[in-house]
Amino acid sequence: MTREAYHKALKNLESEVLQMGNMVAHAVRKSVEALQKRDINVSNEIVKNDLLINKKRFDIEEKCISLIATQQPMAGDLRELTSILSIVTDLERMGDHAEGIAKINILLGDEPLVKPLIDIPRMADIGLSMLDTCLKAFIKRDIEMARRICNDDDQVDALHDQIYRELLVLMMENPKIIHMATYLTWVSHNLERIADRVTNIAERIVFMVTGKMEEINVSKY
C-alpha cells in the first residue's frame, strides 16, 4: 500500500465509523419508538439487525489491525486507530442496549404498560442527540464539542433517577405490576448506559486529538 493509499484508507475508516454510528442511532431510535407503539415486528427487526452492527464492528477492527500491522502508524494516526478500536467497541455495546430494549418490548408482548412513556423517550432523545454531536466532534476533531457532550449525560442520569423513583412508588402501590415495572426500569437502565457509552467515545476523541487520557465524565452509575 502506498502512503497515499494508506491515508485514504484512514479516511475511509472514519466514514465507516460514522456509518456504524448511524446504524446504532437508528437502532436506539427505533427500539424506543417500537416500545411506544408496541410494535413487535420492528423490535424483531432490531434484534436481527444487531448482527449487522456486530459485523460492522469486526470489519472496522480488522481494517484497523491490518493498517497497524502493515503501515506502522505513528503519533496522530496511531492515536486515531487505537481510538477507533475503542469507539467501535462502545458503539457495538450501544447496539446491544438497543437490542435489549427491543427484547423487552418482545417480552412485554401485548400487556399494557404500567405508565405512559414520557421520560423514556426523552432519555432516548438526549442520548441520540449526544451521539449525533459526538460523531460530528469525531469528524471535526472538536474537543470542546466532545467535552460538552458529557454535561448532557447528567440530564440522562437525572431522568433515570426520576423514572426509577416513579416506578418504585407504582410497585409499592401495586405489587402485581412488579415484573412489568421492572422491565421498564431495564429500559431506562439501557438508555442510561447508552448515554454513558457516548461519553466514553467523547473521552476517546479528546485523547485522539490531544494525546491525553482524561476522564471528562464521572458517571453517577
Binding site: 502512503r3 502508524p73 505513528m74 496522530g76 496511531l78
Partner: protein, 259 residues
C-alpha cells in the same frame, strides 16, 4: 533549539548554540541539546537534515573536511571538545563511531578488535586477548567467532562485520558510541541482534544513533530528536515523540506525510 525540548537527567554531552557551515551553506542551525549518560538517544529526520553532520561533530570527524566551519560549543564531561588544547585522538578514543556500511579492516577478526588498543600502545598479548574477548562479548559476537579469531573479518556476514566494527569501537573503552545508520545495510535478523546489543551496551555506554528506521528509534531509544533542514525541531522522550509529538513537522514526518 527552535521549539519543544526537554531537560534530560545526568547529561554527558551539552550541545550549545551549535551552528555548522559547509562553505556558505548552513547545515546546522543553532542546535541546543543535552545527551543523557548511559541512555540511547536517537536522531531522526529526512535526508540532509543534519543529523549525521551533528553526530560527526561529537568526535570532530568534520575536522577532516576543509570547508567546514563551526560556531557554538560542544561539551563532553563538561569540557569543550573544540578547545585548542583538546587532543583529537584522545577525544575519538572517548567517543567511538560506527558507520552505515560495515568497514572492518582487511585483517583477522582479532586484529580488527585490538587495532585501537594496539595504536594506543598496548602490546602485551594477555591484555589484548582479554580486551578482544570482552569487546566481542559486549558486541554479542563472541560465541559466534571465538573459534575462528584468525579468520579474515571480511569473510563474515554483513551483520557480523557490523558487530566487529562495534567491538572495535568498544575495545578502546569509549564513554560514548556514535552510530550512523548502523543497520541500514543489514537484514531484519542482523538488525534485531544489533538492537538487542545496543540495549545491553547502554548499561556501560552512552549510545547516540542516527537512523532512518523510525521503528528502530521507537524500539530502542530513550530519547529522540527530530531534525529538519538543519534545525532541531523537537527533542523529547521517545514514547512521547512517537505517540504525541508537539510539533506539526514532527507529526507530519513520522506519519509519512512528507519526508
Amino acid at each position: 533549539m527552535k521549539k519543544k525540548s526537554i531537560t534530560v537527567p545526568d547529561p554527558i554531552v551539552n550541545i550549545i548554540d551549535l551552528a555548522l557551515y559547509y562553505g556558505k551553506t548552513k547545515a546546522l542551525k543553532e542546535i541546543n541539546l543535552d545527551i543523557s549518560k548511559k541512555k540511547i538517544t536517537s536522531f531522526i529526520g529526512p535526508s540532509g537534515c543534519g543529523k549525521s553532520t551533528l553526530i560527526r561533530c561529537l568526535n570532530r570527524m568534520n575536522d577532516l573536511i576543509d570547508s567546514v566551519a563551526i560556531e557554538g560549543c560542544i561539551k563532553i564531561d563538561g569540557q569543550d571538545i573544540y578547545a585548542p588544547a583538546v587532543d583529537v585522538t584522545e577525544l575519538r578514543k572517548k567517543v567511538g563511531m560506527v558507520f552505515q556500511k560495515p568497514n572492518p579492516f582487511p585483517k583477522t577478526i582479532y586484529e580488527n578488535v585490538v587495532y585501537g588498543p594496539r595504536v594506543q600502545g598496548i602490546n602485551k598479548k594477555s591484555i589484548l586477548d582479554e580486551l578482544c574477548e570482552n569487546a566481542l562479548k559486549k558486541a554479542a559476537l563472541w560465541d559466534e567467532v571465538k573459534d575462528r579469531l584468525r579468520v579474515n573479518a571480511l569473510d563474515l556476514s554483513g551483520g557480523q562485520q557490523q558487530r566487529i566494527c562495534i567491538a572495535r569501537a568498544i575495545a578502546t573503552e569509549p564513554e560514548i558510541i556514535l552510530l550512523d545508520e548502523p543497520c541500514s545495510a543489514l537484514d531484519p535478523i542482523a538488525t534485531a541482534k544489533i538492537e538487542d546489543m545496543l540495549v545491553e551496551l547502554k548499561k556501560d555506554y552512552t549510545v547516540i544513533i542516527v537512523t532512518h528506521n523510525m521503528q528502530q528509534a521507537a524500539r530502542i531509544s530513550d530519547y529522540t530528536g527530530f531534525f529538519m533542514l538543519g534545525e532541531l525541531i523537537e527533542f523529547n522522550v521517545t514514547t512521547d515523540i512517537f505517540t504525541n509529538p508537539q510539533e506539526k513537522e514532527t507529526e507530519d514526518y513520522i506519519t509519512g506525510r512528507f519526508g
